[in-house]
């Protein structure tokens, strides 16, 4: 009993600030280079000096400048912010639910967004990019609320298996209704392109909405990171330490909704980033969310920018769906966790 307790508290105090500083510094440098790579590489080759000119001395008559400024730069930025948002919301979900499998992609977020987006495509001809974003944002909230509700209603709470199954069932239900709508109104391919996820068509207007919401969410996340660490020790412990558990959970949920909503609204279904990144980061920097959250943001951004570059290069000039790339990276990791039956926090 006392031995297990000491292991427990040892585990709770794993706190490696040096490793975290290193992860953040190296991560930011790599992120900078991969964003540069993302801007340079593509169907049209553009060299580095043109990139810099395109950003700082934009000349609207130059095609190369237009590609850089109007297509590649927003795309790279979107990938970075979406990656950071998904990774941080995954970290918060895992900390709050103490569930290793918690992440946006299995919490019904994306199928909820798909549901509302298919309604938008079907019933609003000439629907604007912004309306789609808004609908996706609302749908993401709806989907995760449903999964949380199932967890709250069931007797033993959200066990890893229950979470995964609830997510699957909600996805099947909302997915079926969306497919029905899509086939009935002949918008199946539009929706599938949206659903497959990607940042290929991102415009500045999307960025202008994504970045403020993402930054707000990320700042809130840092702000509550200490409380999340305490909450991740268990609700009883947290309450015993004088934490307002309900309040922290509410804040955490708001952060998750802001971050995943914004990410899904711009990028569609990009799965497994939120699952994989926090686990990798936890492995390096320990179990303190004051370190996990900032490191997840950097590593998530890096992972998604690189995946987006891969998505462009696999089969040019076609774009491979970004969500499929992240799934192929993430599924082996999910299987590894599944073999441990969802333990590993």
């Amino acid at each position: 009993m006392s031995k297990s307790h000491s292991i427990e508290s040892e585990k709770a105090t794993v706190f490696r600030p040096k490793a975290a500083t290193l992860v953040i510094m190296i991560g930011l440098i790599l992120l900078f280079f991969s964003i540069c790579m993302s801007i340079i590489l593509g169907v049209a080759d553009i060299n580095f000096s043109t990139v810099l000119q395109g950003i700082f001395h934009y000349d609207s008559t130059s095609t190369a400048h237009q590609i850089v400024y109007r297509l590649r730069l927003p795309r790279a930025l979107a990938a970075a912010f979406i990656g950071a948002s998904l990774a941080v919301s995954g970290a918060i979900m895992q900390g709050m639910t103490r569930n290793a499998l918690a992440s946006p992609s299995i919490m019904g977020v994306t199928s909820g967004a798909m549901f509302t987006v298919s309604i938008a495509f079907a019933f609003m001809p000439f629907v604007s990019n912004l309306t789609i974003m808004l609908f996706a944002f609302i749908g993401a909230g709806l989907g995760s609320a449903l999964v949380f509700l199932i967890g709250a209603l069931s007797k033993r709470g959200l066990t890893p298996m229950k979470l995964a199954l609830a997510g699957t069932a909600i996805s099947a239900l909302l997915g079926s209704i969306s497919t029905g709508i899509a086939l009935r109104f002949d918008v199946a391919k539009d929706i599938s392109f949206w659903y497959a996820g990607g940042v290929a068509g991102v415009q500045w207007i999307n960025i202008q909405l994504l970045i403020p919401v993402a930054i707000l969410g990320l700042m809130l996340a840092f702000f509550i990171s200490k409380s999340i660490t305490i909450l991740s020790l268990g609700e009883d412990v947290a309450a015993g330490l004088g934490q307002k558990v309900g309040f922290v959970k509410l804040l955490g949920t708001i952060v998750v909704l802001l971050l995943t909503g914004a990410a899904v609204a711009v990028g569609g279904t990009i799965g497994f980033v939120g699952l994989v990144v926090p686990h990798i980061v936890r492995f390096i920097v320990g179990s303190d969310y004051r370190l996990i959250i900032p490191c997840s943001a950097v590593v998530g951004a890096l992972l998604l920018v690189l995946s987006d570059v891969i998505a462009r290069l696999i089969h040019p000039p076609f774009e491979t769906p970004l969500g499929a790339i992240t799934a192929i990276i993430g599924v082996p990791f999910f299987l590894y966790l599944a073999r441990r039956e969802g333990r590993g926090l």
Binding site: M161, L173, G175, I177, F272, A327, L335
Partner: protein, 338 residues
């Protein structure tokens, strides 16, 4: 034993009601469609007294479709019952643990690489497709089994790994689907959602052998499923060679769901619903559960097909979507209650 007698009587009553319902829905299904054909006209058509137009519609379109619905219903229900029995998990279903998506991926590959842009199946590919679907289902099942294996297979691991495999195949399907041209794409979407509206007699012939061979084998193995359901230790103590029996049963389930998916597409939740309803009606013993589940499966799919046909006149929605909308809420209910 008097209790055994009374449960047997219950089995007969339940079965006769179900068979009656199936016959009723069968005729209803033949009547419904853009052209209404009354039951009397149906009988006239098949006894050679009716109009040739009616006979054509009935014989070439509606009859194969209803027959296929019945066969797939039986196959999926038995596959689901086996999976639930051997994994000791009431939430197992070929669709949820990735067997359907494995089969679906193999068929998408086949359409993409071999059949080219013409989605409409030629006479030969009708018979080849089941084998592709089967290979895909088998690969998925083997992957699930190997990855979940760690000194044996626990139900929790089996289901979690299955969900992971499901996402992996889902991602692969999306990659290939988006490379298709728009018409093939829509066809593939309909097919993946589970649809039996392109049914013809050749599909019936392609599916029939699988059902005729595998369903009786499954039924004869009821004792093994009963024992495996008790748990590995107890089953071992009673002299069942667990891994062998589980392997054989898993193969049967994979064969059945693979064959059904190749003809009907990704119809999920049928394998979940039918065994559950059967268990409610006749209890957990598989000698009674399996036949009743098969009847319920057939009835459910026939009914869902009618709903799919009549819900939106002009554009039929895939029957698999109807089943998911019925099945998912029930699944969630089970999840909350458990």
């Amino acid at each position: 034993m008097p209790s055994s007698n009374s449960t047997n009587r219950k089995l007969y009553i339940v079965s006769s009601i179900l068979i009656g319902a199936i016959i009723f829905v069968f005729f209803l299904s033949l009547n419904m469609g853009t052209i209404k054909i009354s039951p009397i006209e149906v009988i006239e058509a098949f006894t050679g007294k009716g109009s040739t137009q009616n006979f054509n519609i009935l014989y070439n379109f509606r009859l194969p479709r209803t027959v296929i619905a019945i066969l797939i219903g039986i196959g999926m229900a038995i596959a689901g019952a086996i999976l639930q029995g051997i994994s000791r998990n009431s939430l197992a279903d070929p669709g949820i643990i990735g067997i359907n998506s494995g089969a679906g991926f193999a068929v998408i590959l086949y359409i993409f690489f071999i059949q080219g842009s013409s989605f409409q199946a030629g006479p030969l590919s009708v018979y080849i497709m089941p084998f592709f679907a089967l290979a895909g289902a088998l690969v998925a099942a083997i992957l699930i089994y190997i990855i979940a294996w760690k000194d044996g297979v626990t139900p929790v691991r089996l289901v979690l790994v299955g969900i992971g495999i499901n996402s992996a195949f889902g991602a692969l399907i999306i990659i290939f689907q988006l490379m298709m041209d728009p018409r093939d794409f829509t066809q593939a979407t309909i097919w993946l959602s589970g649809s039996i509206w392109s049914a013809s007699w050749s599909y019936v012939l392609a599916l029939l052998p699988w059902i005729l061979i595998l369903v009786p084998i499954a039924m004869s193995k009821f004792q093994s499923i009963n024992l495996l359901q008790l748990g590995d230790n107890l089953a071992k103590g009673l002299g069942v060679s667990i891994e062998r029996e589980r392997g054989i049963l898993l193969l049967i389930a994979v064969g059945l769901s693979g064959a059904c998916v190749s003809v009907g597409g990704g119809i999920s939740f049928l394998g979940l619903l039918a065994p559950h309803l059967a268990r409610l009606l006749v209890g957990p013993k598989h000698q009674r559960l399996l036949p009743v589940a098969a009847l319920i499966g057939a009835l459910l799919l026939l009914t869902s097909d009618i709903v799919a046909k009549s819900l939106m006149v002009g554009s039929e929605i895939p029957v698999g979507l109807v089943l998911s909308c019925l099945g998912a809420p029930y699944f969630i209910y089970l999840l909350i209650k458990e």
